[in-house]
């Protein structure tokens, strides 16, 4: 046992020894060390969050054939710090008639819901904050706090744009939570546990992405909708809703919503990688050192984040009615059908060899996806014929 293999435990024991040496009670020193550990993790997350602003701006610039921030410091790396200073020295206005308590609580809850998710995220084999046996449900529960913060912000601002934006965003978030729940069950079925670490350990042989590519895709779509990012960014819209639920917020309160959204995107990238891409695992490299495992996990999370950005900056927005119909009529039944097919195949192939098991799962995913796309295609063809038929009649009259 040395620092290289288990840095957290070594550091914690050393610190506890120091505190006890100062004449502190043993339980008090333990609590203090745990508190410091949690504080350190959250602080590191906030620093990563600051650099996410830079990453996001650089990547969107490249997508749009621009250069992006490049004036402050090397490659514009100091830019986000300048942004933070700007946000801090802005006046923090509260509109008349706003419900002050709810109004001030909303940005705090928004950030807190994201930071709480990291309580169950294992970042290395020996580094996980809480080994909850209901990790998957915990994700959904913290997501509900985020939903709550948005409706609180929209309702308490005493602003029509904020109210409409908030309601829209909440309608999207609760709608897409259903397919997300259904696809969260797929890794649970494979690993037989809701524990995040157990889900990663179960991906020893094959990533769950190979077993359930369709499940990973549905989870990604639902995650993007939960984030309120394009193509599902209906809560915002300069020409119709101003800035949605955050219209009345200024200064650091707005900054908390903004930073919360960015960190949320990285968090979903991380969760996506845990559920379907093996988390901190990468061909045994994670056994070398926890430090390497953290780097692997961060790289995978950033890759997931990049995919979310890629979708955001290349897709068009879709209307809210199209989006809700897409969810309730297409995505939700598809997710549940996939979940039940996975459960059925799991029971049928339980005693088969790993290769047959993997092949059966992969093929069942392909078949379910193909059937769903065929049904969607035939329905949309009928719809198109209906509309185009009307057009042809109109043209004949002309």
């Amino acid at each position: 046992m040395n620092f290289w293999n288990d840095p957290l435990k070594v550091a914690a024991e050393w610190l506890e020894g120091v505190f006890v040496g100062w004449g502190m009670n043993e339980i008090a020193s333990h609590v203090l060390v745990v508190f410091l550990g949690v504080f350190l993790l959250v602080l590191i997350l906030m620093v990563i969050d600051i650099f996410l602003v830079w990453i996001e701006r650089k990547v969107v610039a490249r997508f749009q054939d621009r250069i992006g921030p490049n004036r402050l410091g090397p490659f514009g790396l100091v830019q986000p710090f300048a942004d933070i200073i700007k946000l801090i020295i802005k006046e923090d206005t509260t509109p008349d008639g706003a419900d002050k308590v709810v109004y001030n609580l909303a940005p705090v809850l928004s950030m807190m819901s994201v930071l709480m998710v990291w309580a169950v995220v294992p970042i290395a084999p020996v580094m996980l904050s809480v080994d909850l046996n209901v990790g998957a449900l915990f994700l959904i529960a913290t997501g509900a706090i985020g939903t709550l913060s948005i409706i609180m912000a929209g309702w308490s601002s005493n602003n029509k744009f904020a109210l409409i934006g908030g309601f829209r965003q909440v309608a999207i978030m609760v709608a897409f939570e259903v397919p997300m729940l259904a696809t969260l069950m797929i890794p649970t079925i494979f690993s037989g546990s809701m524990n995040m670490n157990a889900i990663i350990t179960a991906q020893d042989g094959l990533w769950f992405f190979v077993l359930s590519p369709l499940g990973a895709l549905i989870f990604l779509i639902a995650a993007i909708a939960e984030l309120g990012r394009a193509p599902f960014d209906l809560a915002e819209g300069e020409s119709e809703l101003v800035a949605g639920y955050s219209t009345e917020y200024s200064g650091m309160k707005f900054g908390m919503f903004y930073a919360g959204e960015l960190l949320h995107a990285l968090t979903f990238g991380g969760i996506w990688s845990i559920l379907f891409f093996g988390g901190y695992r990468f061909f045994g490299l994670e056994q070398v050192s926890p430090f390497l495992a953290i780097l692997i996990f961060l790289a995978k999370a950033l890759l997931g984040y990049w995919v979310i950005m890629w979708v955001k900056y290349t897709m068009l927005r879709i209307r809210i009615d199209q989006m809700l119909v897409f969810n309730w009529v297409f995505l939700t039944p598809l997710a549940f059908a996939l979940m039940l097919v996975t459960a059925l195949m799991n029971a049928l192939l339980k005693d088969a060899s790993p290769w047959l098991y993997g092949l059966g799962m992969f093929l069942s995913n392909v078949v379910v996806g193909w059937i769903a796309i065929e049904i969607a295609r035939s329905v949309s063809r009928k719809e198109r014929e209906k509309v185009e038929g009307v057009h042809q009649v109109a043209e004949a009259h002309h």
């Binding site: 802005k90 008639g97 915990f138 005493n158 039940l340």
Partner: protein, 117 residues
């Protein structure tokens, strides 16, 4: 220490950080309110009427449909965890359980509740 105490700790620390940031903004920012600045934003014109207006019932229906599936998840997660041990019988039960709830979704759909009007 109990695992849920760690979660509580995360909750406390997760609240301290944004509160600290907002407090910093409160300390360093200027405070020069005036009636026009404190007015509700409505594209520059004076706001018309109350903001807490009556809202579309559509969202209420969506919330109801969501609730059905959310409660369903609570029952389905334990089922998914123990699926390996329970075998094919449990799978059939799960299919029946989900299809009962899907009937509710189809009912809402047929009634035209999912259409945006």
């Amino acid at each position: 220490m109990n695992e849920w105490l760690y979660v509580l700790l995360f909750m406390v620390v997760g609240a301290i950080i944004p509160i600290g940031a907002i407090a910093a903004g409160f300390i360093f920012g200027p405070k020069k309110p005036n009636p026009v600045k404190r007015e509700t934003y409505e594209c520059g014109i004076e706001p018309v009427g109350e903001a807490w207006v009556q809202f579309k019932a559509q969202y209420y229906i969506f919330a109801l449909v969501f609730l059905v599936f959310d409660v369903e998840a609570v029952f389905l997660f334990p089922w998914a965890v123990k699926l390996g041990a329970l075998g094919i019988y449990a799978v059939v039960e799960g299919i029946i359980f989900v299809s009962i709830l899907v009937v509710g979704l189809i009912y809402a759909w047929r009634k035209g509740m999912l259409e945006w009007v």
